[in-house]
Symmetry: C2
Subunit: 304 residues, 2 copies
């Protein structure tokens, strides 16, 4: 049953639940002071998790690859996510799970010996681009003053908080009159932006980068929907020109779904309005949030 | 006057002091969930800050370049650092100051609108290499499986928590039987390691990288001491060979000072023991902690 104290969000930290505004982590947690952490975000839409298993599986891969050893099972973490949402009562939620290297209890500075920590919280659904801006299409800037952190420094397929480059991109976008930015790698290939993957409908095919990016679950959903809809896709490296010359461009994120791009570097894409392919995929994306194969219903009454 | 509750350390968060074990920051702080943050660490040795002004100046440069606008003056922050140390009573302390982008209070996702937050804490002095290991010299590994995040992605001169690459380096060092690692850039130039700069005494000169690294205050102190001692220095790009063929190698950090390297990739450097130049500089480094020009005495009795 929902609890009014938790109406703005509920977090799980050190075996306790907290209203989101009071939810705090240790200042000396290496998830903070070393950004030694992986995370995932799953959406709850109309009281149902969307692709929860896929998010949990990716999350598990991440912490394993960082050689973390949580003291909770994946099933226990899953139950905590449910409990965060239940307690908040939120029907459209943004649910974040975090695995941190945690605390250096022995002053050893040896990350193999730290006590890893699982945190989670549910808050109202986040739109990285609000629906009213999506109607116009996003002004997307291709960053010129910053490149994406390369994969041989920090692996973007392990979802992480290393956003320094992406935040520089956001500021550059603002400086150039844009809304947000997509970053290139050092070879000039399109990668991703702050919290999103990017797609271009170009010469009859839907392009998206195959490397140097998070393998987003929304990205995967779009690729699966495109196949179902008979839209050819191409996972490949490509440069800025593909975005500039595309008929349609959109970005994808758990926090907002499929979001149309209206301009690249200030120049209209196609008609300058959300394109047909984009809108078709977006429609199917949201419909999928009602399909049993991809959703898990939350029983808001049950309590641990 | 020191307070026993704070004997293990004292933190300042949101206008309050906390014993370090209870010091917590909001889980939704973008300093954590976006690693949108800069920090600095200054040492207190025998009751005196070492080069406090230099650390504060670098810290200020960092937050300005990240376009943050703290609601405290630099003098107020300085006073908070003193108060953290005083309250803890610690005479040899590791004092960290943190400026975070903070909280997205309006759900705007626009970092220009966040309320930036200043945090600080003092804990007992940290040795990234304990004195007993320094006697033998560190087993330093030149990482092969990871490169340093490039400066055009995240600027290392703005001290930051983007340590994913450095942590990978630590794990690689362990896997190869080493103690810690130094990372190369994508062109094969030596950069820095987790929390330290690196120096090589090579062909009669003291080499240290000129770009792609934090401009460490300990690094600067070593360069100034070398000048005083008549040891020629060279700030330049150089490859792994310079470390491998050096007569002496050492690393520098506020957390440990000047620390001798005994082996590179398992092979002894010079005699395999801490070298003469290294020991000379280390001696002068610690002596400097008593010199008025570089230190600021803490009045442990005074309380705010």
């Amino acid at each position: 049953m929902a609890d009014d104290l938790f109406a703005d969000g509920c977090a799980f930290i050190d075996e306790e639940s907290f209203p989101i505004a009071e939810a705090r982590i240790p200042i000396i947690d290496t998830g903070f002071v070393r950004s030694d952490v992986t995370y995932d975000v799953v959406a709850v839409w109309d009281g149902k998790f969307f692709r929860l298993k896929d998010h949990l599986d990716r999350f598990e891969k991440g912490w394993n690859r960082l050689r973390m050893k949580p003291n909770l099972s994946k099933d226990e973490m899953r139950e905590i996510l449910f409990e965060c949402v239940r307690r908040s009562g939120i029907r459209n939620a943004y649910v974040e799970m975090i695995m941190s290297r945690g605390i250096d209890e022995h002053g050893s500075r040896d990350p193999r010996r730290f006590r890893n920590k699982f945190y989670a919280y549910a808050i109202p659904y986040v739109w990285i681009v609000k629906p009213e801006i999506q109607k116009l299409g996003i002004d997307l800037v291709i960053a010129e003053n910053v490149i994406r952190i390369p994969t041989n420094a920090v692996d973007p397929t392990i979802k992480n908080f290393h956003w320094g480059d992406l935040t520089r991109g956001i500021f550059e976008a603002y400086d150039r009159g844009g809304y947000t930015a997509v970053l290139l790698d050092s070879d000039g290939h399109i990668t991703e932006g702050p919290g999103f993957n990017v797609f271009a409908y170009y010469k009859g095919r839907l392009f998206t980068p195959n490397i140097g990016v998070l393998e987003g679950i929304t990205r995967r959903t779009v690729l699966e929907l495109a196949e179902k809809l008979g839209i050819p896709t191409k996972l490949t490296e490509f440069g800025a020109n593909v975005l500039k010359e595309a008929k349609e461009v959109f970005i994808t994120s758990t926090a907002g779904g499929v979001m149309p791009v209206g301009k690249i570097n200030g120049n209209p894409i196609g008609t300058g309005k959300p394109g047909e392919i984009t809108l078709l995929i977006r429609e199917h994306y949201w419909e999928a949030h009602n399909e049993d194969q991809w959703t898990t219903t939350i029983d808001y009454i049950k309590r641990l």
